[in-house]
């Protein structure tokens, strides 16, 4: 196991309970999708696993090393004053790597996400999809054991979304980090994850889990298979039940 939440609850002063009690185990190299209605605490769960927030109750275990946990947000969140390479090299440089080594590894990471040739470009010169890839390269450059994706494709168009989903799976096959990603999109969750964790309406608890069969990365035509359809339906049912349970 690479990270876990056990019995965590998060209370925000003045706004009451935001999450929990909630449990989640992330195994090594596993891909988990976290699905739930808006405001159920998905992003809070993610911040707990990143160590950016502490639970009010319960325990969090996480990969201890610097750069072993990486995070990608819904927006690319790049520094506009830095080139693509400099943005990607940032985690390494902050950890004390010398500039030359860091930049060389950053170029490699950019090539891995299919962005050779834009090393010197600034974020403002990149399309939304390209900026998202730079963000992905930055998350991968430290070779993390756990990659957290917080609705990473929500702001992109459908074609770019699907391409990026396949690219993330290909990168996963190469580097095998555990991936936990938050999404609103049931089909995306079933397509990308081997396990879909469904949360109830906020404060989020576990509504149920669905194991998705089939090989990762997904073979062509996976979206029209019977297994895909069944898993998507189960997730939708759990989501609907989760909405009622809390209401």
């Amino acid at each position: 196991m690479i990270a876990s939440l056990s019995g965590v609850e998060v209370d925000y002063r003045g706004r009451g309970r935001a999450l929990g009690p909630f449990d989640l185990q992330v195994g090594e190299g596993e891909i988990i999708a976290l699905v739930g209605p808006s405001g159920c605490g998905k992003s809070t769960a993610m911040r707990l696993l990143a160590g950016l927030e502490q639970p009010s109750r319960g325990t969090v275990t996480r990969a201890p090393g610097r750069g072993e946990t990486s995070l990608v947000f819904q927006a690319p969140t790049l520094a506009p004053w830095m080139s693509a390479t400099a943005n990607v090299a940032l985690p390494l440089e902050l950890a004390g790597a010398d500039r030359r080594t860091a930049r060389a590894q950053a170029s490699e990471a950019l090539a891995r996400v299919g962005l050779s040739g834009v090393e010197a470009a600034r974020p403002a010169q990149l399309s939304g999809g390209m900026a998202m890839r730079v963000s992905l390269a930055r998350a991968l450059v430290t070779r993390p054991k756990l990659l957290l994706l917080d609705e990473p494709f929500a702001a992109l168009d459908e074609i770019t979304r699907r391409t990026l989903a396949d690219d993330v799976l290909a990168l996963w096959a190469e580097l095998k980090p555990a991936i936990l990603f938050v999404t609103h999109n049931v089909e995306e969750a079933v397509y990308m994850a081997s396990r879909v964790v469904v949360m109830t309406r906020g404060p989020g608890r576990l509504a149920g889990e669905v194991a998705v069969e089939g090989a990762l990365p997904r073979p062509a035509g996976f979206r029209v298979t019977e297994g895909f359809r069944r898993a998507a339906e189960t997730v939708s049912t759990l989501l609907a039940r989760g909405m009622e349970a809390a209401a």
Binding site: R47, S70, L71, T77, A79, P80, W81, L94, R122, Q125
Partner: protein, 255 residues
């Protein structure tokens, strides 16, 4: 065609305004000491142009020195305030008081501090006071407006306070600092002129003094000429800084 019209429109409008002014002065036989016609102002500009330019340089250099001093002081103080919430709260009331007090009201006191033998110091001091605030508030806002998600990433990657300051907060503040300096430059010029007015004597030899001198002698055309030089100088300074800001932003953002 439309661009040509856009370019010509202000030229035509100003020409009409000047022509109307000239004609009105002649038609109603307005005495020149009351309202000189544009031709008389042009004449005064030709006659005392050199003197006005050198006075203008005096005022401008005063304003530029004040801008530099204000820039250093305001940036340093903003940095301290951004690093420590306690310092920010401590200096807040002083900053607000300084900003809302009319500069003309503190001019006599600043003059006493500068010493009657050094009116130019008082003028610089007053210009510093007015130029200070836009730089300070711009820098402070900029230092505090880093993207919160980017800040989370810096935390996640274990950045030190120093790294966060140098690699996140200072670069974020750059556009705010540029805008603050652009506003401050115009204010420094105003501050210098107000300071010269308050100093009153010829000690400063700036444009404001030329205006007072000319008005006292009822050389209204010369006063207008001085005003004209001042306006052109202010516009040029603003234009220059606007250009510098645009260039710097292109460098900052990559386009």
């Amino acid at each position: 065609m439309k661009r040509l019209a856009d370019l010509l429109a202000p030229v035509v409008f100003v020409s009409l305004l000047l022509a109307g002014w000239e004609l009105a002065c002649r038609a109603f036989e307005v005495p020149s000491y009351r309202l000189p016609p544009p031709s008389a102002i042009g004449e005064a500009l030709r006659e005392s142009g050199l003197l006005l330019l050198s006075s203008g340089w005096n005022t401008l250099s005063t304003a530029l020195i004040a801008l530099a001093v204000a820039s250093v002081l305001a940036s340093a103080l903003a940095l301290l305030a951004a690093l420590s919430g306690l310092i920010e709260r401590a200096i807040q009331p002083v900053m607000v008081t300084l900003q809302v007090t009319p500069v003309i009201a503190i001019a006599p006191i600043v003059q006493i501090w500068a010493g009657l033998a050094h009116p130019e110091r008082a003028v610089i001091g007053l210009a510093v006071v007015v130029a200070f605030f836009p730089i300070f508030s711009g820098a402070l806002t900029g230092l505090k407006s880093a993207d919160p998600d980017l800040e989370r990433l810096f935390d996640l990657y274990g950045a030190t306070r120093r790294q966060k300051l140098l690699r996140l907060r200072l670069p974020t503040a750059t556009p705010f600092l540029l805008a603050g300096h652009k506003v401050a430059a115009g204010l420094a010029l105003i501050g210098a002129v107000v300071g010269e007015f308050a100093a009153g004597s010829g000690g400063s030899q700036g444009l404001a003094w030329r205006i007072i001198e000319a008005s006292n002698r009822l050389q209204t055309a010369k006063a207008f000429a001085a005003l004209f030089v001042l306006a052109v100088m202010g516009a040029a300074l603003y234009g220059l800084l606007q250009l510098a800001e645009r260039r710097a932003l292109v460098w900052w953002r990559g386009r």
